[in-house]
Amino acid sequence: MAEETKAPTAHAGSSGGESRPERSGGDRPERSGPRGPRPGGGPGGPREGGRKYFRRKKVCKFCVEKIEAVNYKDVRLLAQFVAESGKITPRRLTGVCMPHQRRLSRAIKQARNIALLPFAGRAQ
């Protein structure tokens, strides 16, 4: 908890581009207690609102739940990784690992082709 209160002040105090390496160097050792895994893999990054700075450990949903078959037919699963605009949510927001992201994006594209997922916008 100490880290959470400290991090925003450190972030606000050091302005400019120099803050970056300093912050990462200072924070790393304190990150010992593992916070709970991020629930789900839906869109919406760790950043909420303005300058709040959370560092939450992101984990790949597919690795954790041992979902191996990423299939274009499983619309409900794929829809969790598609933004409201219909875009594929980037890995940096969902925490999906690269091997799974590759399968996921392929599956989403296949699902789009067969009209299970929209190319753009919400499904009607």
Binding site: K66, E68, A69, Y72, K73, Q110, R112, N113, I114, A115, L116, L117, P118, F119, G121, A123, Q124
Partner: protein
């Protein structure tokens, strides 16, 4: 060389069941005559994610095909000339199935490895009972 394919196609929503069954059976017969096997699932009417032509929903049909590539070629040609079919998608699945099989095997072997010690512990009940009494005593230390 036989491969596995998944062929999904959408037919217009106002198609009669009779015609749909006829279409499916002709497709299936064209596969079986080429020495393949099929399994067909009709998903029924579903909403499309976007408009296709002037349709907002369609009847989804999934065919699982085991056969050579030429079979798929023929099926796609047929689907293209069949008027009520509004969309189709073919996906080759044999590599994926192989991969999943492999993962499953690895997982099963791991499960067995973890299951055997538990089985031996269950058979040796006095040993576990002893361990059960021992743990609370050792816990404070």
């Amino acid at each position: 060389m036989n491969r596995n394919y998944e062929l999904m196609f959408i037919v217009r929503p106002d198609m009669v069941d009779e015609d749909l069954n006829k279409l499916i059976s002709t497709l299936e017969s064209s596969v079986t005559s080429a020495g393949g096997t099929t399994k067909t699932e009709v998903w029924g009417k579903r909403r499309l994610a976007y408009r296709v032509g002037r349709f907002n929903d369609g009847i989804f049909v999934l065919m699982l095909i085991d056969g050579v590539g030429a079979v798929v070629h023929e099926l796609e040609r047929r689907l293209r000339v069949t008027e009520p079919v509004i969309k189709f998608l073919t996906v080759r699945t044999d590599e994926e199935l192989k991969r999943l099989d492999k993962i499953k095997k690895i997982r099963d072997s791991k499960k067995k490895a973890s299951a055997t010690p538990a089985a031996t512990a269950a058979s040796a009940t006095p040993a576990t009972a002893e361990a059960g009494t021992e743990t609370p005593a050792s816990a404070p230390v």
